[in-house]
């Protein structure tokens, strides 16, 4: 589904990612962990198409296409979804308009008929129940005045509406209390199918108690320094990132 080969990325002349390799297959859950500043969010944003990052080397193939050549909106409509670390507040753009436009743009891309207002509201009600989303929130402007937890939940709500093939959750757990974390994890698990894949980017092991990854990777200073199964996350939790840093310093 996703294949990253030897990816180098810079911003303002600073090299952030230095040769990333990653293979994600349908049905898999990958966790990318690492200390702050290791390049995790950069990877997420490059995959979603944020323009200020410059890819200096390497390639990314998504569903057989050159992902790096695609506009952000085309990536989205072909099933790639980024749950933002910091969802943006957009005063004046009503949530309902935004969500309806997004859903219909996805449908148009798939050659399906656009949903009418009534059909859309019905879909929205279903997904709200699934995510346990506060009904009042969709009456506001996009993310405006949402608490940290509400913003993250809103990301998962959008994921539920758009049903992506590949979801990238960028620090979706950070700043969440344990109840909110459980709700978010529940949502992600409920959306899981054998055909879609998830990349969880996180600093902490905590979320992985609720969403069980198939593969765990450790990103440090722009490189994948370790890969393994779920046990790697537990080992990291126990030993801390200093363990990775020290091992890396020795090499």
């Amino acid at each position: 589904m996703l294949s990253i080969k030897d990816l180098y990325v810079s911003i303002d002349g600073n090299e952030i990612l230095k040769g990333i390799n990653l293979e994600v297959k349908p049905g898999e859950i990958h966790a990318i962990m690492g200390p702050n500043g290791s390049g995790k969010s950069t990877l997420a944003n490059v995959l979603a198409g944020k323009e200020e990052f410059e890819v200096t080397q390497g390639e990314v193939t998504y569903m057989g296409e050159d992902l790096l050549e695609m506009a952000p909106e085309d990536r989205a409509t072909s099933g790639l979804f980024l749950s933002f670390q910091y969802p943006v507040e957009i005063p004046g753009v009503p949530m309902v308009n935004f969500l309806k436009t997004a859903v219909n743009q996805h449908r148009i891309a798939r050659g399906e008929k656009e949903l009418t207002a009534g059909e859309f509201l019905k879909l929205m009600r279903e997904k709200k129940e699934m995510i346990d989303m506060d009904t009042q929130l969709t009456n506001r402007s996009v993310n405006e005045g949402f608490s940290g937890g509400e913003k993250k939940k809103n990301e998962i709500f959008q994921m539920a509406l758009l049903e992506p093939k590949l979801a990238i959750l960028d620090e979706t757990d950070s700043g969440l209390d344990i109840d909110a974390l459980k709700t978010v994890a529940h949502g992600v698990n409920a959306l899981k199918t054998p055909n879609n894949a998830t990349i969880i980017i996180t600093h902490y092991q905590r979320l992985l108690d609720y969403i069980i990854p198939d593969h765990v990777h450790v990103l440090y200073k722009g490189r994948m320094v370790k890969s393994g199964g779920r046990e790697l996350a537990l080992e990291l939790e126990e030993k801390g990132y200093d363990w990775v840093k020290q091992e890396n310093a020795l090499q």
Binding site: K50, E51, P72, E73, I90, G92, F98, A102, Q105, S141
Partner: protein, 455 residues
């Protein structure tokens, strides 16, 4: 030196023309208008057409708009054409009392005025001032020729405009809609003088729509005086939509008594040069004024909103929100002055001006000014000039919304705050639609007319 002479010559040209035509101007005009002309001439000559050295006109160069050779219309031209028949406002569900003003003259065959509530008078200023001068006792008490050369120039040439009188406790449920038509064979200089008196406890909504019939150059200079009585209310919507070959200078003066409310909203979509002078005097306790404005301009359009709010009595509230979207090489200005006089305690006065520049060449000047001579007041002002938030744009695109559509959503969002202040629902829907069309780069027009297809 020659440039200076030329500028002085330009002002003198307008003064000299007055001397040539003053007999025909005076003829048939009401006494109260003729009485002003002498002083107006002196005041106009003293001040001249403002250059950018004049502080109040620092950001707007009026000189080029006065340079073309215009035709003046000093006598009422009785049109054969029935405007009621050729013009139909195509806003669905907008049920209004519709009247026309043509080249500054109140149209004599307006149809629907008989339906106005009893005692409400809407008509030609010239006619009303002649027939019922008692109703115009306050005429020219707000618009001083000594302070602004454009007011002086208006008083010099004014013959007609609209007159509206809403008697005590009258409630005009349907909005009154005035279509301001510009239609002439030649490039034309248009002077319009309006007068509105809303008595105690009366309520009225006014919608002013611009409409240009052809691509000739027009320079229009209008002055409107509005008196809002105790506990009365006014909603005033101006849809500025003349073509880009036209220039218009609009001066509106609003005097409010205690417990009154006046809301103004200017929606500027088209027009080459637009200067809106808006002066409020809150002259009774607990009066409330809300000033809203938005402009969407491109190419070489220029829009200047110049507001003054004078808090003359305690416990009044004023609120200003002006938003502009500037594309291409367009330029804009906002100057907002709040003056809280001594003893106008417990004043609440707010002002905000936000601007979105879509190109590097668009230019916006914004100048808030607070003059506070009382000590127990709440006043604030804020101004921003910026570009579209790239992070927000990326967020929308990352949800599958294509870039162009995402930009449109952002621009609509930017002005949403002003649009939602339109309380007449079909009008709000229409403005929403016009703004949306404007932002999509389509012509935003109300009717088949000579919009800025060429200019």
């Amino acid at each position: 030196m020659s440039v200076i002479t030329e500028k002085a010559d330009l002002s003198l040209k307008y003064a000299a023309h007055y001397n040539e035509v003053k007999e025909s101007l005076r003829e048939g005009s009401p006494q109260i208008m003729n009485d002003l002309r002498g002083t107006a001439l002196q005041d106009f000559i003293r001040q001249g057409i403002p250059t950018r050295k004049v502080e109040n006109y620092k950001y707007t160069n009026l000189q080029p708009s006065f340079t073309p050779e215009y035709e003046f219309i000093h006598q009422r031209i009785t049109t054969e054409v029935d405007l009621n028949a050729i013009f139909r406002c195509d806003v669905p569900q907008l049920d209004t009392h519709l009247a026309f003003v043509s080249n500054g003259w109140f149209y004599e065959n307006n149809r629907q005025l008989s339906e106005l509530p009893e005692g409400v008078l809407l008509g030609s200023l010239e006619k009303m001032a002649t027939e019922q001068p008692g109703l115009l006792a306050k005429f020219a008490t707000l618009a001083s020729t000594a302070d602004d050369p454009m007011v002086a120039l208006n008083a010099l040439y004014a013959k007609d405009g609209y007159f509206l009188y809403v008697p005590r406790n009258a409630r005009v449920e349907k909005p009154i809609q005035l279509i301001n038509l510009l239609q002439s064979e030649n490039d034309t200089f248009v002077t319009q003088r309006n007068f509105i008196h809303i008595e105690e406890g009366a309520h009225v909504k006014l919608i002013l729509c611009d409409h240009t019939m052809n691509l000739n150059k027009y320079l229009s200079n209008s002055v409107t005086e509005i008196f809002v009585g105790q506990n009365a209310s006014l909603e005033y919507y101006a849809l500025q939509n003349h073509h880009n070959n036209s220039a218009s200078i609009n001066s509106v003066f609003i005097h409010q008594e205690r417990d009154s409310t006046a809301n103004t909203l200017y929606s500027t979509l088209h027009g080459g040069l637009i200067r809106n002078n808006l002066k409020f005097i809150l002259d009774g306790e607990n009066a409330e004024a809300n000033l809203y404005g938005m402009a969407f301009i491109d190419r070489q359009q220029h829009v200047d909103n110049f507001t003054q709010v004078i808090h003359a009595k305690p416990h009044c509230q004023s609120n200003q929100i002006y938003k502009n979207v500037l594309d291409d090489e367009s330029t804009g200005a906002f100057s907002g002055r709040i003056h809280v006089v001594r003893d106008a305690q417990k004043t609440n006065a707010f002002q905000r001006n936000n601007n979105l520049l879509l190109t590097d060449k668009a230019l916006m000047q914004t100048k808030p000014q607070l003059i506070i001579d009382a000590d127990d007041v709440k006043c604030s002002h804020g101004a921003t000039i910026g570009q579209i938030d790239e992070d927000a744009l990326f967020y929308l695109r990352a949800r599958g919304i294509e870039e162009k559509m995402a930009r449109l959503m952002m621009m609509n969002a930017f002005t949403h705050e002003v649009i939602q202040q339109v309380k007449v629902e079909p009008l709000r829907d229409r403005i929403d639609e016009l703004v949306d069309k404007r932002l999509r780069g389509e012509m935003a027009r109300c009717h088949d007319c000579a919009y800025n297809c060429e200019s």
